[in-house]
């Protein structure tokens, strides 16, 4: 006879689940409200979602660091908390962008499901970063991804359907690779718990080709899945098309949130290899990231559409960050989070600026919504908007004192420090490549500034800010201030992040 399984509630440590439960509960609440009352204004849902996200942030803050829960599936450590905070804050800034000036222009926001799906996605991402169990990571990843595909499709243009299908198909393939990678890991170590995997790999020893080939194969397969989500070459193909197809805020959101979640997974997974001094994996990541940042920068140079340019630029930023990930030092890992924390403001701001100028009719170009020509002579027609956009561009290109500069500074200095600590001059080469790439990137960011400030308007068509509303202006204003004033908070922020990251041993 089977023993009845009795589990004490206390040992579950359900508090570790609370942030996700809040998001899921909120999503269900939205669905229920919709069930009972139709045609509520989207403002209500926006506010409700924001409220839920607020509570979620509070719950995340109240988590104790370095605790496990729910049969040790959940792992709340420093990087989990900091990445959840980035995810939630970005979400909080993203959601009010739904409050465009005209209520019915973008009907995806008039569906309550949109908000429910959004919260499910957030919950999925939170699961992804709060566990070191490969299966739960996968579940979280798929929950988030499937919601995301739908959210993209709900933009409901020809482009967005195409984008969703492409993303979905390639995502399915990437998911396959993730599973294959997990299988290889399980086959070699007999566990899907990463901390177990680390122990077993250590005891097995990783010297010699025969003992390393299976773990290395697992790492390669994992890197495919991770590379897809983080958009590393050559798995980045979806990025420009999907960004182009989806709404601008969604594109900005995608360039931050799913990536940071996957980077946490990468940190956990590749951290094992780096701790075991399997240099092959570090080299692999560095080579891929160098190729990624270089090629995407080159491609960004020749783009005709600002949104596609920003898509390639976000790929190159991801390559930048991945290069630091291969180092595995506390400073490098902290810098990654700092980088995304600062990049978030600027990048979301840049995409939001595109968003408020979005017009249903493609008035400037047959295919693109935001060709460079659209912004010609913007300084005379919309001086403030032009200056704001210019600030975002300067920040993205890493010009002090704007936010991304500090991210780059810490990131590159972590590489240089690593080089000094290990005495390996090749990491200096990596730092130089990163700096050179930044220089190349400045070209295409400044190109937009040149269009805005130095070129005359192309024709009588004026750039219109049809979507501008007080809510959007507020969000953008906040983003601008966060970008400009970063010099004042970057130090404490870095200390906070370093504290969280180092407290769980990364």
């Amino acid at each position: 006879m089977l023993e009845p399984i009795s589990v004490s509630l206390e040992s579950l440590n359900l508090i570790t689940l609370s942030p996700m439960l809040i998001a899921i509960g909120g999503a269900l609440l939205i669905l229920l409200i919709d069930l009972f009352k139709d045609n509520l204004d989207k403002t209500m849902y926006v506010m409700l979602t924001m409220l839920i996200l607020f509570i979620d942030i509070g719950a995340t803050f109240s988590l104790n660091i370095n605790e496990r829960g729910f049969f040790d599936l959940m792992l709340v450590d420093g990087i989990s908390v900091v990445s959840q905070l980035i995810i939630l804050v970005t979400s909080l800034l993203f959601i009010p962008l739904a409050l465009t000036a005209s209520n019915n222009r973008f009907h995806e926001y008039s569906y309550p499901e949109y908000f429910a799906l959004f919260l499910f996605m957030v919950a999925g991402l939170q699961f992804m970063v709060s566990t070191d169990n490969l299966i739960l990571i996968f579940v979280g990843l798929e929950t988030a991804s499937l919601s995301l595909y739908t959210l993209i499709a709900m933009h409901n243009t020809k482009g967005s359907h195409e984008a969703a299908i492409k993303y979905f198909t390639m995502g399915a393939m990437a998911a396959g690779f993730f599973l294959m990678g997990s299988v290889v890991v399980y086959a070699t170590t007999g566990s899907v718990e990463l901390y177990e995997v680390a122990k077993i790999l250590q005891s097995q020893g990783v010297d010699g080709l025969s003992s390393i080939i299976a773990p290395l194969g697992g790492a390669v397969l994992m890197l495919v899945a991770i590379g897809f989500k983080v958009s590393l070459f050559p798995f980045h193909m979806w990025t420009p098309d999907v960004y182009e197809g989806s709404s601008a805020p969604m594109a900005g959101y995608m360039s931050i949130v799913p990536k940071i979640a996957m980077i946490v997974v990468a940190m956990r997974f590749f951290g094992i290899y780096i701790n075991l001094n399997i240099e092959a994996v570090s080299y692999l990541i560095i080579i891929v990231s160098v190729i990624t940042m270089t090629l995407s920068n080159m491609m960004a140079l020749v783009q005709k559409d600002v949104k596609r340019m920003l898509a390639y630029s976000s790929i190159s930023h991801a390559g930048f960050v991945m290069a630091a990930l291969a180092l595995g030092t506390t400073k490098a890992n902290s810098s990654i989070f700092l980088y995304y924390g600062l990049f978030m403001f600027t990048n979301l701001g840049a995409f939001a600026m595109l968003w408020i100028s979005r017009h249903k009719a493609k008035r400037f170009h047959g295919r693109y919504d935001h060709p460079y020509e659209k912004f010609s002579g913007m300084i005379s027609a919309h001086p403030i908007a032009a200056v704001i956009m210019a600030i975002f561009m300067l920040s993205l290109s890493g010009i002090p004192p704007f936010s991304v500069f500090w991210g780059k500074l810490y990131l590159i200095s972590s590489v240089v420090d690593f080089s000094a600590a290990t005495g390996e001059s090749k990491y200096i080469v990596l730092a130089i490549i990163m700096v050179l790439n930044s220089a190349v990137a400045a070209y295409y960011y400044l190109k937009l500034i040149v269009y805005m400030f130095l070129k005359p308007p192309v024709n009588e068509l004026n750039l219109v800010y049809t979507n501008k509303s007080l809510a959007l202006a507020t969000v953008i204003g906040f983003l601008v201030m966060a970008t400009i004033l970063s010099i004042f908070y970057v130090q404490p922020l870095m200390e906070f992040v370093t504290y969280l990251v180092s407290s769980s041993g990364y």
Binding site: L209, L216, L221, M237, L284, N297
Partner: protein, 640 residues
């Protein structure tokens, strides 16, 4: 006292920022009033500090740590001692008068508010310059006054360039650039001097540096002294860096009075006085002697050009140059306190002279040619009085211990030259004193006496506003009485500066020396009276003579600089631009850019938009990664 110090220092800054708020808006009298009031406050604070320094002693504060890098520690500190407090009082007093004067003078200017913002910013920089307790702070102020001077000379930047024959200073913006660039050249010397001192003493604080001087080798001391003096030469417009000062007269007249007569141009003299422990070293004796000689040369050189000049403001500018030469002569001979005394006295009467010239300009619709004036004394009684007084003071009129400011200060310098038994310098300085009297009164007589040569024009001259004339009175009073404080001043500053006493013999024959000087001065005035009192009689033959043309064209030095420096430099720049930059540097940069761009174009082709292609690329990517992983593994094994 610390608070007073900050009040004295920062009031002008507050005024400047306040006026800057209105910079783009139309004229608002409030900017003039507020900046003037704040300067008055600054002056009062300086005066109280003066009293404090006199009775109690120097005030030294450290506001904050400024630069901390490695072993280098430079606090942002201020020092109010006998030297700096003298400068502070002079600067703030003249500035206050000039500010009030400007309210009237700039009355019709559309950039009224901007003007006051610049003017107050200048005063702030000047205060930083004189109050800093280290060389770096001094340098900041030094550059600050340079920038403000540039802004103010070029205040009417919209005026077009004209040829040198029409206007020797071409245009305000040209003159501003000339002043700035020439000062930059000299500043390099100053910077090198500061570097040398820092390198060898490890500090920039005056007290630390001066205390360390005896330990330095002679070569270093000489190098530092020369380098610092080069800086002083630029700011105080000593030959051969003197051309900018006369061209700087393109600025509004109050600017000329404040910056290019009373305060900024004396910064070089101030630097030498400040660094007197360095210049008094035995090792740098010949540098000091060189300074004295150069000063004397500039004194007569500038005076000679003033003899024939027809431009009202330029005459005064030449006389400023000449008087700066006197100051350097005194400082070079070791009579630092006399140099400082002449600096202060000169500031009063020279500012008065310039402001008077401003009144004349205002009355004559900006006409500056004294050949076209005359007979103004009836309509401009007060200005006549002021300018007459100032010219008397400048000429050093006085006898038997009673006289105007210049009598005391300039005579003392001439006496010093005699006392040093340097009779060549002494004779030159005496001759210069005669020339000074001549050109000063040539100007006064041509402007105010004789017939009204402007009668056939539409000009109806009138005197300045009452309040402006009243505001000028403190300067007039000081021009008259400043000299009586000589003994008292000597006692005050020689606490800090080396006391310079005349030898017994000199003292004995001092009255004879005084008489000689007076004779020359009066002789100059009488000559001017004979020649010009009745009106202008032009002598074609004289005006076409070689000497006359040489003098009136400033010895052709500006033209020479143009040929030797400006033109070849422009040619070199053009060469660098067209050949070095465009054909080599730009082409390389463009080449790299194009290469990357071509790379982008090629890479872009894999982005087909076709989903099957993308999936294929993912599969290829996996293969690629496997290969890379294998290579990486081999690499890492190889490395171990």
């Amino acid at each position: 006292m610390e608070n007073l110090l900050y009040i004295a220092l920062f009031s002008p800054l507050v005024g400047s920022l306040f006026a800057a708020l209105f910079a783009m808006s139309p004229k608002n009298i409030i900017t003039g009033i507020v900046t003037s009031a704040l300067l008055l406050i600054s002056f009062i604070a300086s005066a109280i500090l003066f009293e404090h320094v006199m009775t109690v002693g120097a005030v030294h504060v450290t506001m904050m740590d400024w630069i901390m890098a490695g072993d280098m520690l430079i606090p942002f500190g201020f020092l109010v001692d006998q030297i700096s407090v003298t400068m502070m009082v002079v600067v703030t007093l003249v500035s206050t008068v000039v500010h009030i004067y400007s309210i009237g003078y700039m009355d019709h200017d559309k950039s009224f508010n901007r003007f006051f913002s610049y003017l107050s910013a200048f005063v702030f920089s000047m205060m930083v310059l004189v109050m800093s307790d280290n060389f770096l702070g001094l340098f900041i102020g030094w550059e600050g006054v340079g920038v403000c001077s540039w802004l103010l000379i070029g205040f009417w930047y919209h005026k077009e360039d004209v040829s040198r024959d029409v206007n020797p200073s071409i245009s305000p913006s040209w003159a501003a650039n000339e002043a700035f660039i020439m000062n930059r050249i000299a500043d390099l010397g100053m910077l090198i001097g500061i570097f040398i001192l820092y390198w060898n003493t490890g500090s920039l604080q005056y007290d630390v540096v001066f205390a360390a001087l005896p330990n330095l080798s002679d070569g270093i001391l000489v190098a530092a002294a020369i380098a610092l003096f080069v800086g002083a030469m630029g700011k105080s417009a000593q030959f051969p860096l003197h051309t900018w000062l006369t061209d700087a007269m393109e600025g509004p007249t109050p600017v000329s009075a404040l910056i290019h007569a009373a305060t900024m141009v004396t910064a070089g003299v101030f630097l030498i006085i400040r660094a007197n422990p360095l210049y008094a070293m035995e090792a740098v004796e010949w540098v000091s002697y060189f300074i004295a000689s150069l000063g004397t040369f500039v004194a007569i050189f500038a005076a000679s050009m003033a003899l024939v000049c027809r431009d009202l403001k330029r005459i005064i500018a030449f006389s400023t140059l000449s008087q700066l030469g006197y100051m350097f002569a005194a400082a070079g001979l070791g009579a630092y306190w006399i140099a400082l005394f002449h600096l202060a006295a000169h500031a009063f009467f020279k500012a008065l002279l310039f402001l008077g010239a401003g009144n004349v300009m205002h009355a004559m619709n900006d006409e500056l040619d004294i050949f076209k004036m005359g007979g103004l004394k009836k309509v401009m009684r007060w200005t006549y009085l002021y300018m007459g007084l100032a010219s008397l003071a400048l000429s050093g009129i006085g006898i038997a211990g009673v006289g105007l400011a210049g009598y005391f200060s300039k005579d003392a310098i001439i006496e010093t030259a005699f006392n040093e038994q340097n009779y060549i310098l002494w004779i030159i300085l005496i001759v210069t004193a005669g020339m000074t009297a001549f050109y000063s009164f040539r100007q006064v007589f041509l402007t105010f006496h004789g017939s009204k040569r402007y009668a056939d024009t539409e000009i109806h001259p009138h005197d300045m506003y009452k309040y402006v004339l009243i505001a000028m009175s403190p300067l007039a009073i000081l021009a008259v009485i400043a000299g009586f404080f000589k003994g008292w001043f000597e006692e005050f500053v020689t606490v800090l500066l080396p006391a310079y006493k005349m030898s017994e013999e000199t003292h004995h024959i001092a009255w004879i020396l005084g008489l000689v000087v007076i004779a020359f001065a009066v002789g100059g005035i009488v000559l001017a009276y004979i020649k010009y009192n009745k009106g202008l009689k032009r002598n074609e033959e004289l005006e076409n003579s070689l000497v006359y043309r040489l003098l009136s064209n400033q010895y052709y030095i500006p033209q020479l600089y143009d040929k030797i420096f400006s033109k070849p430099y422009a040619a070199f720049s053009r060469f660098s631009w067209l050949t070095l930059d465009q054909k080599i540097v730009d082409a390389t940069v463009d080449g790299i850019g194009n290469m990357i761009k071509t790379g982008g174009d090629n890479t872009r082709k894999i982005q087909t938009g076709n989903l099957s292609d993308y999936l294929r690329w993912m599969a290829r990517g996996v293969v690629l990664l496997v290969i890379v992983a294998f290579i990486s593994h081999q690499l890492s094994q190889g490395a171990n």
